[in-house]
């Protein structure tokens, strides 16, 4: 459908006004909110993720695209809820205890939302028990831990240990942040690691069993 393609292009380019207008036009034309998300917004954010991975766009452009998507979702979410359409997967995300940095965590949250995941954002400085209770409450498929500081890497390790010991058999744990590496993720027993917000979508999809 041309309008859906236009919406995809508008989101990918971060054109907020166009994104909202096209979403309204699609709704007025009788397109279901689920279709608009799946065939308009999600492909748009997928383009953003790919461009980010290839260094064709950068943090500012990604933020602008995510804002455009967010505006569209404001229109669509009440309709999705009314129609009983729920995201298939839920992610609980936060920056670990002792760490107040949130740009990386926010970017990844936006990309996950853009991939159709429900995201429960616990914010920064999150103690292990808060991750656990949120994962339990929301039946999370994935818990995402972020850390920017070398001094909070031990808190990430501790959180993974506690979450693993607490027993959440259906919840995978994913980690990321500037000083985090695949080797560190393996060492602390995380199920997944991503070096950037674009890759984080692919890794999350693999972890929940959805082909990336």
């Amino acid at each position: 459908m041309p309008l859906l393609n236009d919406l995809t292009a508008a989101v990918a380019a971060g054109k907020r006004t166009d994104t909202v207008r096209l979403t309204q036009e699609l709704l007025a034309a009788g397109t279901g909110p689920g279709t608009i998300v799946e065939q308009g917004l999600v492909p748009g954010m997928a383009i953003v993720g790919e461009q980010f991975k290839k260094n064709e766009i950068f943090v500012p452009e990604m933020l602008v695209a995510a804002r455009a998507m967010k505006e569209a979702l404001k229109l669509l979410e009440p309709l999705l809820a009314a129609a009983g359409i729920m995201p298939k997967y839920t992610v609980v995300v936060g920056t670990v205890q002792g760490d107040l940095h949130d740009i990386g965590k926010n970017l990844i949250s936006m990309m996950w939302r853009g991939a159709g995941f429900a995201v429960v954002d616990l914010g920064t400085n999150v103690p292990p028990e808060k991750y656990f209770s949120a994962a339990q409450e929301h039946k999370a498929h994935l818990v995402g831990l972020s850390a920017l500081l070398t001094t909070t890497m031990p808190a990430m390790k501790e959180t993974v240990k506690i979450l693993k010991a607490a027993g959440l058999p259906n919840t995978k744990i994913m980690v990321g942040g500037a000083p985090i590496t695949q080797a560190f993720a393996d060492d602390i027993g995380a199920d997944g690691y991503a070096a950037d917000a674009g890759t984080a979508v692919d890794v999350a999809k693999k972890l929940v069993g959805e082909a990336a």
Partner: protein, 418 residues
């Protein structure tokens, strides 16, 4: 050869002993806990360490410690702090990790029963705090105090409150610093502020009581795309003020300083960049060039640019803008391998950093691993000068003292030809 001569040779790309900087700036120093641990290790007088930069909780590397560490550089001490209060009226404070240190009177702080610590702009507790150290933390982060944004009423002047002509008190402070450093044999590193364009650490303006304009970090990044004219207008104003102030500083400092820190704006992330080279060319390069050109035309100072991350795509642009020195040379980031950097750019810029990885090897490696990396970096970067040894950014809290000592020993042995 004096320390200053060593540094000058390196900056002029002449071979010789590798000079070292540990502690001359807020970008090349270490956490207050590390300073105390090193003082104890080396048997230096045991007294509370001064926190000279409260945002990152950097401790003062006093002359006695600098000598033991082999540092060839000394910094001019800043009068103000990231939180707007002055570095004066020192008093003792016990940090949450138990260390007793000296902090300026304006530091406060407010300590919550939860263990969270808050500091206030200019030390004024009648306004909301601007800095927050979470329980279990070792540093502060700026608290975002963004007023609601009305696009129609956005005024670039609101983002320019901090850019002012230098006043007499400030000049008197710098003159006193020069007097303190008279006869100094180490290279003197100055940093006067106001020349950092779009430094994301400064955007929230933790030093202002009521910051206006764009002060939220994400909102600032969005502005680089959606409000580029607004950002240009800020940079235009900032640049004009900076150039006037540089005139005053040049008259005050003359040739007494060797290096001036220009800008700490980070253009790199661990694996990418914060903007494209095209954005850099449009939005940043013209201002950097004006500042560097003015300095080179009127002084002998070498200009120092700090940017973390994977900045290889900007290296030629940094050099073309006139920067003489690059710091911290984050070799752990993508495409930042030391041998390639040295081979491709080493004859045109001085690497002030890159000595050892502070994300992994220094905090988490063994002393043997530290020694091996330090020695390898010294071999790589020291060829034909163009290298001042410094860790990759400040040494972080919880770094084992044995690792820092291994680093210092490795440098000393390398310079002794061992």
């Amino acid at each position: 050869m004096t320390s200053r001569e060593k540094v000058r040779r390196a900056l002029n790309h002449q071979s010789g002993p590798v000079p070292v900087d540990i502690g001359s700036t807020g970008l090349t120093s270490m956490h207050v806990s590390c300073v105390a641990a090193l003082r104890q290790h080396y048997g230096l007088p045991n007294h509370p360490v001064k926190v000279v930069e409260p945002y990152q909780m950097l401790g003062e590397v006093e002359d006695d410690l600098a000598r033991v560490l082999g540092s060839d550089c000394v910094g001019m001490k800043a009068r103000g702090t990231m939180f707007g209060f002055k570095n004066e009226d020192w008093r003792e404070w016990r940090a949450p990790w138990g260390q007793v240190m000296l902090v300026p009177k304006g530091f406060g702080p407010r300590e919550d029963p939860s263990g969270d610590v808050y500091v206030f702009p200019e030390g004024d507790t009648s306004v909301p705090p601007s800095g927050h150290m979470p329980a279990g933390g070792y540093f502060f982060d700026a608290i975002i105090r963004q007023e609601p944004i009305d696009e129609d009423k956005l005024n670039p002047a609101d983002n320019c409150e901090e850019f002012k002509p230098v006043d007499a008190a400030e000049i008197a402070h710098w003159k006193a610093e020069l007097t303190r450093l008279q006869g100094e044999e180490r290279a003197i590193v100055g940093g006067v502020g106001g020349t950092g364009f779009g430094d994301i650490a400064l955007v929230p303006a933790a030093f202002l009581k009521h910051p206006k304009g764009i002060r939220d970090v994400s909102e600032w990044y969005v502005s680089l795309v959606e409000r580029r004219d607004y950002v240009h207008q800020i940079f235009d104003f900032q640049c004009e003020v900076a150039l006037k102030n540089l005139e005053t500083y040049a008259n005050t400092f003359g040739d007494l300083i060797d290096v001036i820190v220009i800008c700490g704006t980070d253009f790199g992330t661990q694996s990418s960049q914060f903007c494209s080279p095209a954005t850099f060319a449009d939005l940043y390069a013209p201002y950097y060039k004006r500042v560097n050109d003015w300095i080179h035309a009127h002084t002998k100072w070498k200009t120092f640019k700090h940017s973390c991350g994977a900045i290889r795509p900007f290296m030629n642009q940094f050099i073309e803008c006139g920067f003489d020195i690059l710091n911290p040379v984050q070799c752990s980031a993508k495409d930042m391998e030391a041998p390639r950097l040295k081979a491709d750019f080493g004859d045109r810029v001085t690497f002030w950093g890159g000595g050892v990885d502070t994300q992994r090897v220094l905090p988490f490696g063994t002393p043997e691993e530290v020694r091996a990396q330090v020695t390898e970096r010294l071999r790589t970067f020291s060829v034909n000068g163009g290298f001042v040894f410094n860790t990759i950014h400040n040494i972080q809290a919880r770094t084992p003292v044995a690792n820092i000592v291994a680093m210092v020993d490795a440098i000393r042995d390398f310079n002794a030809g061992k």
